[in-house]
Amino acid sequence: MKNRVFDKFSFLEFKGVAENYLFILPAVVIFSIFYIYPFFEILNLSMHEWNGISLARDFIGLGNFKEIMQDKVWWSSIGHAGYITLIALTFQNMLAFALALSCDRDIRMRKFYRIVFYLPPVLSEVVVGLIWQWILNSGMQSGKPIGLLNYFLTKVHLNHLVHNWLSDPDTALTCIAVVHSWKGFGWGFIILLAGLQTIDRQLYEAAHVDGAGVFSTFKNITVPMMVPVFVMVMILTILGSMQVFVLVLSMVGQGLVYHTEVPVTRILASMTGMSRFGYACAQGIVFGLILMIGSFMLNKISKKAKQE
């Protein structure tokens, strides 16, 4: 009798557990196929020399990782992505925040501005790159500049500023960083505006009653309340900017010497240009680790800042 009850209970319990597993099974299968398997396959490939086609793969252990440590071009590409990220973190996010603050107020046509500011992120990166390539074109026809920027500069008699914007190592990467920021500020604007609108208006009214000025209100209410949103925007900016590459390809093609190389263009070069899939996978792993460490550190700093 006891056994039968136990058996029945055990069966019901098993059925319940099995049902639960059955419900999550599709998600587990999809996750395993599209995330876990590729991850381990990339890890496996990173320890091989493989041309991407042949059936044979040569196991070389950590050889690819050792080579990456000595690959100056790879590390300079990380530096370039870092520079683009720095411009995005400062210029792009400051612009996004300033515009979000403006649109958070009761100004005329604020809905129109919200749409306009969100337009660049909606555009394709290839289209943006090609448009800016035309704007920054340094070519001439019959002695007149073809590029819009150089043409404008000559029109306002600033001929000394006419420049080979995309073929000069001193300006090419900055041009890419500025265009990347121009394209990216819109989504930062939307997130920051959403964050601003979650701040309780009564806090501002109370501060106003207490005689707090605009700057004081901004410093003591807006900024502290926005810290979690800032952190999220910063993490997304870092992840998005470090992985920039479509814009680079559409603006300077295969690159100006090595001055416009970013990590993803190097991974692509290893994979398609040199047929070194193993090395490309190793680069991908190293790059992923760098991004993870960066995001983790930023998260830690923000938690500490919040506690203080």
Partner: protein, 416 residues
């Protein structure tokens, strides 16, 4: 897709990247269906970079179509063949006393041929079918040269530089090309390497027997210094894609261009009034001929594991026959692969065709340079053009990479 489609009886599937030819291909496929009852599907995947990635991914997944093209260096082609993804067509070419082989330009066929002593361990044979031929030369804008008072076109490099300064004086830019695409810089440099030192010394360099710091290689790098010093290159050339360079030449923004025979079609679309001629790159060493890159423009291969192999071969035989080649050439303004179809081509294409004897190509060389060394070489040239490095510095940098890569290969072979 791919093999699953290829397994359908009387259906041949083809993947390609040639955006300008899709319509004509479809037209030819309809003609073929009318004649034989066999359906041919041309599937276009562009741009070529994306197409290349698709082919590699399809090979990894074993879903290649019945017919496809392999873009890139011979090493890649060899990897496809050694993995069984490409059918050996030698027997088909040899049938009927080699009639098919004889009808095609030898140089075009050589791109698809692996000889007895090839370094890729590929069984000797012919593994692809050229559907057109191409070569890369220089073009000159006749109207701009006339405007500058220049008669004819330059035959030597010294004359070329002199012409450039004349053109610059009246505000016309000299040479434009898509040197933002490094293979085009590589091609230009390679032409001059052949002219300055000849094939044997280049191959010896690739084998690691001659260093890049050799005086002849310094001369090759120095060409770009001379071009820079004499303001011979269009502004922004190192970051320019070939499409933009083609636009610049077609719209008369530069007097000279370095481009392939496909440009005839492109220029025709951009500016039908463009009055231009074709010339070999002006020689530096008058005692040695100028070699240019050329041969098969686009080639198709037959999937080695396709069940429709014979149908695929029959279609390619039909596609490269005289009538179809003349039709393709007329419609797309590309040079035909079939020598008997040459009589129907326009004058400007004839000028390109007349230099076919001067052509060479990395695909037919016995040795190819390590891709990392090639990248350092091409990027180094870009740095000379922007005035960042001297020819000697670039030569040194390329040699360092070369030595490192040789060491790596040695270590690997010792391990094995």
């Amino acid at each position: 897709m791919g093999c699953s489609q290829g397994n359908q009886a009387n259906v041949v599937n083809i993947w390609h990247w040639m955006t300008d030819r899709q319509e004509v291909f479809v037209e030819l496929a309809e003609q073929y269906k009318e004649q034989t009852g066999i359906e041919v599907n041309f599937e276009l995947y562009a741009p070529s970079d994306e197409y290349s990635k698709k082919i590699v991914a399809a090979a990894q997944a074993r879903v290649l179509p019945d017919i496809y093209g392999i873009l890139g260096e011979k090493k890649k082609r060899a990897a496809f063949i050694n993995s069984g993804f490409v059918a050996d067509l030698t027997e088909s070419f040899n049938a009927s006393e080699g009639a098919w082989e004889k009808s095609l330009f030898e140089k075009a066929l050589n791109v698809n041929r692996f000889k007895e002593d090839n370094i890729y361990n590929v069984k000797p044979g012919i593994y692809g079918v050229p559907i057109d031929v191409t070569n890369i030369q220089m073009l000159y804008n006749k109207d701009l040269l006339t405007k500058a008072g220049i008669k004819g076109y330059p035959k030597t490099f010294a004359q070329f530089i002199k012409n450039i300064s004349t053109l610059n004086r009246i505000g016309i830019e000299g040479l434009v090309s898509g040197w933002g695409e490094t293979w085009m810089v590589d091609c230009f440099a390679s032409n001059y390497a052949f002219n300055i030192m000849g094939e044997e010394k280049i191959m010896a360099t690739y084998r690691g027997e001659v260093p890049y710091t050799d005086e002849d290689w310094i001369k090759v790098f120095n060409i770009f210094k001379v071009l820079r010093k004499n303001n011979a290159l269009a502004k922004g050339i190192v970051a320019k894609g070939n499409k933009y360079a083609e636009q610049d030449f077609a719209l008369g923004r530069a007097a000279f261009a370095f481009n392939g025979s496909w440009c005839v079609n492109v220029y025709n679309d951009m500016n039908q009034d463009l009055n231009y001629g074709v010339m070999l790159p002006p020689v530096i060493n008058e005692e040695r001929p100028m070699s240019i890159w050329g041969g098969a423009g686009s080639s198709f291969v037959v999937n080695g594991i396709s069940e429709n192999k014979q149908q695929a071969i029959d279609f390619l035989k039909w596609l490269t026959a005289k009538d179809q080649q003349a039709f393709l050439s007329k419609k797309t303004k590309n040079l035909p692969a079939n020598r008997y179809a040459l009589s129907a081509i326009p004058e400007i294409l004839s000028q390109f065709a007349s230099a076919m004897d001067e052509t060479t190509h990395p695909s037919i060389w016995k040795y190819n340079e390590n891709p990392l060394v090639s990248e350092t070489f091409d990027k180094g040239i870009q740095s000379i053009i922007i005035g960042e490095k001297t020819p000697e510095e670039v030569a040194q940098a390329v040699q360092e990479v070369k030595v490192r890569e040789i060491e790596k290969v040695k270590k690997r072979s010792m391990r094995q």
